[in-house]
């Protein structure tokens, strides 16, 4: 059976309480669901013998700026067995800017989630080491948010003194 049909079918069977949205765009399948279920769905996709999405290629986010659910966290996962890529999406609102970490499922996502935290300010619950990835530790802002100015906020990144 085609994986593009099998994935929606098995997910809806297994998680009947979750509201899924499936989108097949230019040959890539995306699955959207509520953020509360992210860990169980990811674990299922990784461990189910039909799928075996053993590689987490990327974790990132989208800032929609003015939408009601401001952020969308995006996971790109890959099944080595089927040579198949899948995109998972979960909406996160600014008022509750957290999502569960998938580090118990894929260890790779540790740094990827740190990067997402650094750039978008989305907190990952139960993350073992949620420090900033790129910016200095004491930096106050999250640069990839749409309301962050391109040239930064003056004085927020200190420079050494010129004598």
């Amino acid at each position: 059976m085609n994986l593009k049909e099998l994935i929606p079918q098995k997910l809806q069977e297994k998680f009947s309480h979750v509201k899924f949205e499936f989108l097949d765009y230019r040959g890539d399948l995306s699955v959207k669901f509520e953020k509360e279920h992210v860990v169980e769905i990811c674990r299922f996709l990784k461990e189910d013998s039909d799928f075996q999405f053993k590689l987490c290629e990327d974790v990132t986010a989208i800032d929609w700026a003015k939408r009601k659910n401001r952020f969308t966290v995006v996971y790109h996962i890959f099944s080595l067995k089927h040579n198949f890529r899948l995109r998972l999406k979960a909406d996160v609102d600014e008022s509750d800017c957290t999502i569960d970490s998938v580090t118990p499922v894929w260890k790779t996502s540790n740094w990827l989630e740190r990067e997402t935290w650094d750039m978008y300010g989305i907190k990952f619950n139960n993350h073992p080491d949620l420090r900033r990835m790129y910016m200095p530790e004491d930096f106050q802002y999250h640069p990839l948010r749409k309301d962050f100015p391109l040239m930064g906020i003056p004085g927020s990144l200190p420079l050494p003194k010129k004598d």
């Binding site: 420090r131 790129y134 910016m135 200095p136 530790e137 640069p143 962050f148 100015p149 391109l150 040239m151 930064g152 906020i153 990144l157 200190p158 420079l159 050494p160 003194k161 010129k162 004598d163």
Partner: protein
């Protein structure tokens, strides 16, 4: 230089300490290769046999700041890296010179963005700015020659009263 002939004839030469010191300083400028990004590739090419920085007495790239006179900042300096660059500069003994190599180092270049320092002259005293992205090795040699010209105009006592800057400890977790 005809030095040998002159010495053979007279057995001595007269000069000034300033001239001798400046001459020896400019003829053996030891660079600190601060290769941060792609400009470093051109900097390496400058040291290779084709362009041969050794012709100007600068083949000894030292990877410790304690033995260097010239810092070649070759690459994009981010705000996070700026502290490292400054710390290495502070460890170099006086007298010392700085080349800002390439567009990024001189002005931020194409990285007009929050994380890149828009010109290292915001935290370092720069002697020569070098255009190009990256500059060709010839261009770096030209910068080196300009530094040598600058050194040749200095006097030995120009640097005697310089105080060491206070080193600050950077807590970078």
């Amino acid at each position: 230089m005809g030095l040998e002939a002159k010495l053979k004839e007279e057995g001595f030469i007269t000069t000034t300490i300033d001239a001798v010191v400046a001459w020896s300083r400019e003829s053996s400028v030891w660079p600190m290769p601060m290769g941060i990004s792609c400009c470093a590739i051109e900097m390496m090419a400058t040291a290779d046999p084709k362009y041969d920085m050794a012709r100007f007495g600068s083949e000894v790239m030292r990877f410790t700041p304690r033995q260097c006179d010239l810092m070649i900042v070759a690459g994009t300096v981010t705000y996070k890296m700026a502290h490292v660059v400054r710390k290495i500069y502070d460890q170099m003994p006086d007298p010392k010179w700085v080349i800002a190599m390439g567009a990024c180092t001189s002005s931020g270049g194409m990285y007009r963005s929050y994380n890149v320092v828009q010109g290292i002259d915001q935290f370092l005293p720069v002697d020569v700015y070098l255009a190009g992205c990256p500059p060709r090795p010839d261009n770096l040699l030209n910068a080196l020659i300009q530094i040598q010209d600058k050194i040749s105009k200095t006097k030995a006592r120009d640097f005697q009263d310089r105080k060491l800057p206070e080193l600050t400890v950077l807590h970078n977790n």
